[in-house]
């Protein structure tokens, strides 16, 4: 092997010496062959590194240019709404290209642009984009404001979860509906009593007539008999003729008595039937009561077994100490009268928490009992046979008398049938007297407390005056939007306003019923009015429950999906805290510090002062469009209702708030100590209950729209002993009430209050100049409880809750987009035509460029390295 190498080496040397001229040029050859490729490789690596570096730099330049393009944002949308979108004043592509060209300087000659194009995308007109921006805008601000306002989201959510108001109203509607049927049955029974009364009077008349006629007939027959016995024949024909005539008259009286008896008997049968029906109704009520009571017991047991349910923390009404008790009265959700402690089978006494039906049923039962007592005494058992026999006797007698001739009869014939005198044994002749007594009892059955009725009527009339106040909208906020300017068609269902307008009729019905019970009572009139009232009440409550079910659509979602609640709160809280409403448009500002007054000025608003729109005007309010370019300050109300008319939106929002308040006030109203004290009024207390139910939330709303606060969950009603002083204080400074009305307000139910005054010294938190979304008491305190209940919140906060409850997401974003569109269009009208669908939040760029080569190693590379790159950037 070694020898082989030696031989080869020798051969190479020989070749080199002979052919290559020794080692001359060896190094150059070596470098040419070995180092040149190395050098080439180095070139390539350097070029590659340079290209990579420039590629990265190109990305940076594109990113910076996109960023700068995004910097051309719409300053009005940003300042006003805290949202970012690219200004439509400049062309996105031109702006982008300007920055790209300028920034290519930084790259030297490393690259050259061949083409570039940028376009906006993802506008605020897209619901998901808008929502995302709102979430980001409100993530800290809304939560911070909510904390400042004393919103304890967890507790509010739990309280909404267990709110008894809906159940109470639902139960009330069902009860009222059933009570209508029962009232009609009772009315029929009273009708029968009245009919029986008339028939009894007639019967008495006919009985007396029969007796008179029989007496005359008897006398005539005695005359005939005495002439016969004296043997004086000449006077006999005349006497017999007179007896015949008396017999005919008696025959007529007998027939009439028979008919009257028949009629009375029929009336008694009818009365019995009607009584049975009422009895059956009452049995149903009792059964239902018993069943409910058992269910309540079971529920109470379950409730006691469960731990930490928030509903169990509502203080007992009237304790006023804020002590949280462990139970919520079962009556909170009961139907008829499951509240009391009465024995099974009886309608128990309420304890101030009676539902609508309790007092009515008690009245019905009282009337039934009185009627039953009468029937038991005056309509004896086996009367059918007796009356039948009497009628037969009377008819036989009438027949006999019709063909009666005195010449063929003697006095002895009058001692036995058919001519003998018939005594009425089935019905007493003076049964009418007892019927009159019954009617008197029935007339007075509603109530004997005339003063109480008078008081209720007075409060009812005051309620009418209060509800007729012009309070529904702020006159200065009077835009009627031009629908052509809207991004989305906006609609408003005015039927809800019509429901609201029905309140006045409802109140009038209640007062009419109380009126019927006042003065000289007439049970028939009362029961008729009650039936009519209950019909309307049932309709009203059913409408109310339907309305709530339809509008509070988000409630169920939140109860199911806890996380959803927080998202919704960010979304809806954003609108509540960033948009003006009727109570803030002048003094308030957004979370970003944007003054609402600017909105008012931009819209060309002028301060007209005062408020307008009474309950009676509501029906005439419609979703009126007009030519106004934007709203003037009732934007929160627009978000709630979607109405193009600012007046209508305010009225609708008032109504929404009213409904919410009605639901949350139920507990306090049903537990009002004044309502309990009115138990002596019997069925008239229904009127008081309805007035309380209608008036309490109305008073709340009046105070709220005047800048005051209300606890979200009331434990003490204004219309209670403790609440009335608060009411007087809260209302005194804000209402255009006459002195008399103020005095009436302050002195309401003096009797029931026992001349006493509130034991509480704490007053409902109210301030006539609420701080801008600040602490609910203007001090920034976050106390969530006072004497009236939990969570004192102002109109804005109520608006936030209402939106959470009532406004679906899609409507929310549509309306929000409409508001942005309207305002921005008006603001920018001199510069450009704003379109929310072009309010882009992202830029997309397409770029073609060439990386210039450093050293031209090949003729084929003269064009450099072409590249295409897309890049997106968003806010």
């Amino acid at each position: 092997m070694k020898a082989w190498f030696k031989e080869k080496r020798k051969a190479i040397r020989h070749f080199l010496k002979r052919k290559v001229n020794g080692t001359k040029g060896m190094l150059s050859i070596f470098l040419a062959l070995v180092v040149s490729p190395l050098l080439m490789s180095t070139f390539i690596f350097i070029e590659y590194a340079r290209i990579q570096s420039i590629q990265e730099l190109m990305k940076e330049v594109m990113g910076s240019s996109l960023y700068s393009t995004l910097g051309h944002y719409d300053d009005y949308v940003e300042e006003r709404f805290d949202l970012l979108s690219i200004s439509q004043k400049d062309d996105v592509n031109t702006t982008y290209q300007g920055y790209m060209k300028a920034n290519m300087n930084a790259l030297g000659k490393g690259a050259s642009i061949q083409s570039m194009e940028a376009s906006g995308q993802h506008s605020l007109g897209s619901a998901s984009i808008l929502k995302q921006q709102i979430y980001e805008a409100s993530e800290y601000t809304v939560m911070a404001q909510a904390m400042w306002d004393g919103f304890d989201l967890d507790r509010i959510k739990k309280k909404l979860d267990g709110l008894p108001g809906m159940k109470q109203l639902n139960a009330g509607a069902e009860v009222a509906n059933k009570a209508v049927g029962y009232a009609n049955d009772t009315k029929d029974m009273i009708n029968s009593v009245k009919d029986f009364q008339e028939k009894a009077k007639d019967f008495k008349e006919k009985c007396q007539n029969y007796k008179t006629k029989y007496q005359a007939f008897q006398t005539a027959m005695q005359t005939v008999e005495s002439i016969r016995n004296s043997g004086q024949e000449e006077g006999l024909p005349a006497a017999e003729a007179a007896a015949d005539a008396a017999a005919r008259e008696l025959a007529t009286a007998t027939k009439e008595l028979s008919t009257s008896l028949g009629n009375l008997y029929d009336a008694s049968k009818d009365l019995k039937e009607k009584m049975e029906k009422v009895k059956k109704d009452l049995s149903e009520v009792k059964e239902a009561t018993k069943k409910k009571k058992e269910e309540s017991k079971e529920a109470a047991t379950e409730s006691a077994a469960s731990t930490g349910t928030e509903i169990a923390t509502i203080p007992a009404a009237g304790n006023g100490t804020g002590t949280e008790v462990a139970t919520v009265p079962a009556n909170g959700s009961t139907e008829v009268a499951t509240t009391g402690t009465a024995a099974d089978g009886e309608i128990p006494d309420g304890e101030g928490a009676e539902t609508i039906g309790t007092d009515a049923y008690k009245w019905f039962e009282e009337m039934h009992k009185a009627t039953e007592n009468f029937a038991n005494k005056q309509i004896q058992k086996g009367i059918d046979a007796i009356v039948e026999a009497e009628k037969t006797s009377l008819n036989n007698q009438a027949t006999a008398l019709s063909s009666f001739t005195a010449s063929g009869h003697s006095m002895a014939d009058l001692s036995s049938a058919p001519l003998g005198k018939i005594e009425m044994k089935g019905f007493k002749e003076d049964v009418a007297k007892y019927v009159d007594e019954l009617v008197d009892i029935l007339d007075k059955s509603a109530t004997a407390d005339q003063d109480g009725i008078k008081e209720v009527i007075a409060v009812g009339r005051l309620a009418q005056k209060l509800m007729d106040m012009k309070i529904f909208y702020d006159n200065s906020l009077d835009s009627n939007i031009n629908p052509a300017l809207l991004a989305h068609t906006s609609s408003f269902d005015t039927s809800t306003l019509l429901t609201a307008s029905g309140f006045a009729g409802m109140l009038q019905d209640a007062i009419d019923f109380a009126d019927a019970c006042y003065g000289i009572p007439n049970v028939f009139k009362m029961i008729t009015k009650l039936a009519s009232f209950l019909i309307n009440l049932a309709k009203f409550l059913a409408g109310l429950v339907t309305w709530m079910a339809e509008h509070f659509i988000n409630l169920a979602k939140f109860l199911v999906n806890y996380q959803e609640y927080y998202h919704a709160f960010l979304l809806y809280g954003y609108a509540a805290y960033n948009l003006p409403n009727r109570t803030t448009y002048k003094k308030g500002s957004t979370l970003t510090g944007y003054s609402f007054q600017k909105v008012f000025s931009l819209a060309g608003g002028s301060d007209k002062g005062g408020k307008g729109g009474a309950m009676s005007d509501i029906a005439s309010l419609g979703n009126n469009s007009g030519s106004d370019p934007m709203f003037k300050g009732a934007e929160l109300e627009y978000m709630l209702t979607g109405a193009n008319s600012e007046y209508t939106a305010q009225a609708g929002a008032f109504f929404d708030g009213y409904m919410l308040r009605l639901m949350v006030d139920c507990y306090a109203v049903f537990n009002s100590d004044i309502l309990k004290a009115l138990s002596g009024l019997g069925p008239v207390r229904i009127v008081a209950t309805v007035i309380f139910l209608l008036l309490e939330p109305f008073l709340d709303m009046v105070i709220l729209v005047n800048g005051g606060t209300q606890v979200l969950f009331k434990t003490t009603a204004y219309l209670s002993t403790k609440g009335l002083p608060h009411l007087a204080q809260d209302m005194a400074g804000i209402l255009d009430l006459s002195d008399e009305q103020k005095s009436t307000l302050g002195g309401m139910f003096e009797r029931e209050r026992g001349g006493g005054s509130s034991t509480g010294t704490e007053v409902a938190v109210y301030h006539d100049d609420p701080a801008k979304h600040g602490g609910q008491d203007g001090s920034g305190k976050t106390n969530d409880k006072n004497e009236m209940g939990y969570f004192p919140l102002d109109y804005t906060a109520h608006g936030a809750i209402l939106m959470i409850l009532c406004t679906p997401y899609d409507q929310y974003t549509d309306r929000m987009q409409n508001l942005i569109q309207l305002e921005a269009k008006e603001k920018h009208k001199k510069d450009f035509d704003f379109d929310i669908n072009k309010a882009y939040t992202s830029v997309h760029s397409d770029n073609k460029y060439k990386l210039n080569i450093f050293m031209n190693l090949s003729p084929t590379l003269t064009g450099g390295f072409p590249y295409e790159k897309q890049k997106d950037l968003a806010y």
Partner: protein
């Protein structure tokens, strides 16, 4: 006289001629690579700095306090606290509380020419990812920038709602065989001043 082995030393001579050429070629290539690298890194810092400077106006507009020369003397308390924190406790390398862009009439910062200093600090921050002037100086010197950070001249212009950051410096190649004069290099970047019209 017989000339013996006349080719002796030819390889040495050849090497003496050809090897320096090759070496120079390699080193020149390497020098250019360093120049490109330096330029690119400076370009990166420049673009990022300009973009960042463009955000100063937005931040300052959002946080308007009395400490801010271009705005009213007293802003809200929260703004004052935020501005105070930025001004006295946070690094000024990544944002500036001065309204350097607002013009002499409006901003103290602008009147004092603080914009260029702000730009320099911003450049240092984005060049090193740190807030160290010495690191930046070292890095720039290693790039061949004459006098390092001190040799960098920053100029900030704010007009039409845009900021243009221009930097000029002298730079030599890593291997300057012929003592070639340093290159004058100017690079610039432009960005939108957010919130400025």
């Amino acid at each position: 006289m017989k000339r013996e082995n006349t080719e002796k030393g030819s390889v040495t001579i050849e090497a003496a001629i050809i090897l320096p050429i090759f070496c120079a070629l390699f080193m020149a290539l390497n020098g250019f690579f360093f120049v490109f690298n330096a330029q690119n890194q400076i370009a990166h810092a420049l673009v990022q700095s300009a973009t960042s400077l463009g955000m100063d106006s937005y931040a300052n507009n959002q946080i308007a306090s009395g400490l801010d020369g271009a705005n009213g003397f007293w802003g809200s308390l929260s703004d004052l606290i935020q501005d105070g924190y930025r001004r006295f406790f946070s690094s000024k390398y990544f944002s500036s509380p001065n309204d350097w862009y607002a013009g002499k009439k409006k901003g103290m910062g602008a009147a004092l020419g603080m914009g260029n200093d702000d730009a320099k600090r911003r450049f240092v921050a984005y060049l090193t990812g740190d807030t160290s002037d010495s690191k930046a100086n070292q890095k720039l010197k290693s790039f061949g920038v004459e006098r390092g950070l001190d040799g960098m001249n920053f100029k900030v212009e704010s007009s039409g709602g845009d900021v243009t950051l221009t930097v000029t410096y002298k730079m030599g190649v890593w291997f300057d065989m012929f003592g070639k004069k340093k290159m004058d290099i100017t690079q610039s970047a432009k960005a939108k001043m957010w919130g400025e019209k």
